[in-house]
């Protein structure tokens, strides 16, 4: 274990992790499921960023998307329905040294876990969140979700969904302390990767909604957007997402947008005819909850003892005659 510092550095330098070092098991998602694309992008990110597998934690809730951590050879926490965010927050508060990701679905995040979603934005802990939004409950077999378009036929809405869909982007952009909001689609892997990477590099809660196809329950839902490149609006800026010439050639609908412009971000997020892809909002100045709350001091036994004895002093009744000198 006794290794010279230079040797240590040498070892780190020489250890290059490959994609296989992040892959675990064979994903059990349906073929054509958008989760596969997200997994590929994230594994690529880990490799490119050289994330130490033992220092990385993927936390998820319940649903198809929440199987995600099982397919990563990192630490993972496949929790309970809706509660991925508070679990991840606990991890980050206890261990700011760990890199924390959250994978959550539209039911998990926007329905049963909606309270945690709102508050996670407010805490703005340094966590990267992927909202796998396929607009339907998959694992429980096709029930309407809060992001299902009105009219969606499902097992609980056989005559079509009754309500307008909730827009996760505008909701997110409405919360105080929001610091990073982006949207990607699973069928443009290059942009998906760029957006995931930008989210990872942002310090704060990075909220990435990934529009994801469900070939099993809503196979045709995204067809109008997939078949007409004009309906994909690329949101770019020199300080945010830059578009490669190859992508620009296929997707010609571009809009330049300063990611600090909240009003414009909300406007873009509200569009219904096109699906915006890119970084809608990014503010690097919002403080992180863990930085506000943690002292960062070394917690030695003596440090705790002194604190405790100080508290005992406050409540101690000294025997009569022992005098105040003892208390001091």
């Amino acid at each position: 274990m006794n290794m010279a510092a230079t040797e240590c550095l040498l070892q780190l330098y020489e250890e290059r992790l490959q994609l296989e070092d992040y892959q675990s098991g064979v994903p059990r998602w349906c073929s054509g499921c958008g989760d596969n694309a997200i997994l590929a992008a994230v594994q690529r990110l880990c490799r490119d960023e050289g994330l130490r597998p033992e220092q990385t934690v993927f936390v998820s809730g319940i649903g198809c998307s929440s199987r995600f951590p099982h397919y990563m050879k990192t630490y993972g926490f496949h929790g309970i329905h809706g509660r991925a965010l508070p679990i991840a927050e606990g991890v980050k508060m206890a261990r700011p040294d760990l890199t924390v990701f959250v994978n959550t679905g539209d039911g998990d995040c926007c329905s049963i876990g909606a309270a945690h979603w709102i508050h996670a934005l407010r805490y703005n802990m340094n966590i990267t969140l992927f909202l796998h939004d396929n607009q339907i409950y998959g694992l429980t077999k096709k029930q309407v979700s809060p992001t299902s378009p009105i009219g969606t036929r499902s097992n609980t809405t056989p005559r079509g969904a009754y309500l307008e869909a909730l827009n996760p982007l505008t909701v997110t952009l409405g919360v105080q302390n929001v610091s990073f909001v982006a949207q990607a689609v699973d069928w443009i892997p290059e942009l998906l990767y760029d957006i995931v990477k930008a989210a990872y590099h942002h310090k704060g809660l990075s909220f990435v909604r990934i529009v994801q196809r469900c070939p099993e329950w809503l196979p045709k839902l995204m067809d109008p957007w997939m078949h007409d490149p004009q309906k994909v609006q690329l949101v770019h800026h020199e300080r945010a997402l830059r578009i490669s010439p190859a992508i620009a050639k296929v997707y010609k609908n571009h809009v330049e947008h300063d990611p600090l412009n909240m009003d414009r971000a909300r406007e873009i997020a509200s569009s219904t005819d096109v699906v915006p892809v890119g970084i809608l909002y990014q503010n690097p100045c919002v403080p992180c909850y863990e930085d506000i709350r943690r002292s960062g001091g070394l917690r030695s036994a003596d440090y705790v003892r002194r604190g405790l004895e100080g508290e005992f002093d406050k409540f101690t009744v000294w025997p009569e005659g022992a005098g105040e000198q003892q208390a001091a």
Partner: protein
Amino acid sequence: MDAMTPAAQPTSARPAESRADAALGGKAATTLKEHIVEIISDSGEGAQRCGQSLGSIAARMGNGIWTTEIIPAEIRPPARSVAGASGNRIRIGAGPVTNGGDETDLVIAFNEQVLLGRVRGNQLKPGCTILLESMWRSSPDAKVAASYIDTHDRLVKAGYRVYEVPLEAECRRHVSDPRQGKNMFALGMLCSIYSLDLQVAREQVALTFGKKDRGVIEQNVRLLEEGFKWAEAGLDFKYRIPALRNTQPQIVVNGNTALALGALASGMEVCAMYPITPATSASHYLSDVFEKVGGVVHQAEDEIAACAFAIGASYAGKCTVTITSGPGYSLKQEAIGLAVMGEIPLVVVNVQRGGPSTGQPTKVEQGDLLTTLFGSHGDAPKVVMAPATIEDCFYSVITARKIAETFNMVVVILSDAGLATSQTPFPRPHFQESWLAPPIDQSEVPEGALPYAWNPSTGLARRFIPGQPGGMHTVTGLAHDSASHVAYDPEINEAGIRARSLKLAALQKTLRPPPLFGDAEGDLLIVGWGSTKGTIEEAVGALREEGHKVSSMHLQFLQPMPPGIKEAMQRFRKVMTVEGNWCDRPEDEIIDETNRRYSALAMLLRARYLIDVDCWSEVKGQPIKPSVVIRAIRARLQH
């Protein structure tokens, strides 16, 4: 036990029957073994502070004390309302005092309405001495004056020994705003009544107002002295409760503060909570001091989030505590099941209150035992401990953290509103480094080691913590094999359930049989758990003095139950639990052996040990009184 020596006539015509220990005439002090005194006012008038100070002064003099907060359910109940009584109740004894005792012997009331609430609640002893603020008699509001006079006259008629005291008028002679100082005047009176050392009282007042400026302290000390003088001259009685001198420093805190100090002393770093009565004061205190030792109190967006946050922090290597009460505890159940399934150490404190539903938020009840043992769906074994004293509240958190991390289990601490709001001194703890959580293990996991390599005989496995190289795996709430892979294989599912269950047995092997209070055999064994210990032992002690063959046993561990319980019970002709949760009353017409619902512990003992354990319970939202337990035991001994 008590005595009253009226040297001159109180305003009441009929002083209670008395037994004088000291000579009449002049103002000799009557010696008492113990007395229960209450100070009650509208909230915000400082009766709480007066009571706490009195307790501290008596404790410094070497008396045993037990103080209980009297809390109205509302923050600012209307002034002069029956339900609005706020204050403190102090039982002062010559020796150690282990519970709040029976009815009150002496009350100082700042108005007659708050007093009425106590009278109607049967909190006052017949013939109780009442020192009543008399300013209302001459109130400009005719209704108020009439109400005062009417109440006063009725109290006198009912046999209470009522003294009218011009509290406000007296204070006005010394300060401009008497509302702010009446409590210290009252404290001075009480110091005179109980022959407490005025110098000790002065010091206590200085301590109480330590944060304020000198002027405030001086003014309060002056009022204290004036109150003392007034009572010396104006009252015709005086008591003395001899003290056994302490030689050791004592800590005086309530159960919630003790819990928070325990969290501090356990080395835990994170507490995740959501506000709920009566648990919140633990978090209030912790919020104030935790950061001094590098800790964090996280007020989550809801109870579920608080529990999930705690689980996340524990999973990441720092055993965490979440503090709540009944309704919040219900909300946490699914998350607790996750911690059980993932074998993540977690300490959950449930400061029980009256239930179900919103129930009685500020009142004591022991209603959550079964939900704690069996809560969360499926088989979710967890450790359940119940502190029996304020001192236990402190040490139980340290023990709970250790068990949680040794066995990778959820440990639930069942306190209650009674412990939460009561104070009694206990020896100042001597810090030990072994209390603290060790640093997070970041050593490499040997190749081939599995995160749930359950030991076949104990169910235990090494805890894998993020950061440990080679230990990467995904914790899941799904059934899993020893590699933490999701598994639906019937054998694997059973293997996991078995291992999680075995850990309780492994812990049980380390526990000692609970000690007996009294002889090891006899006619009746009383079994209790939690905050009732002092009351039960006082009752059993009194009956033993009368010659009854009754003993008691108090359980600190409710799950697993320590060894030796069955053998202990078998040495008694009858066994009965005394609990603060409901059991059907056998005397009710339609209740019989086939439908009677037993109290929680009785049900557990019957099921586990096949012994015909009876139960007696009371769920009035008040701490159970020793005299009531004596009556219950006596009745049980007779048939």
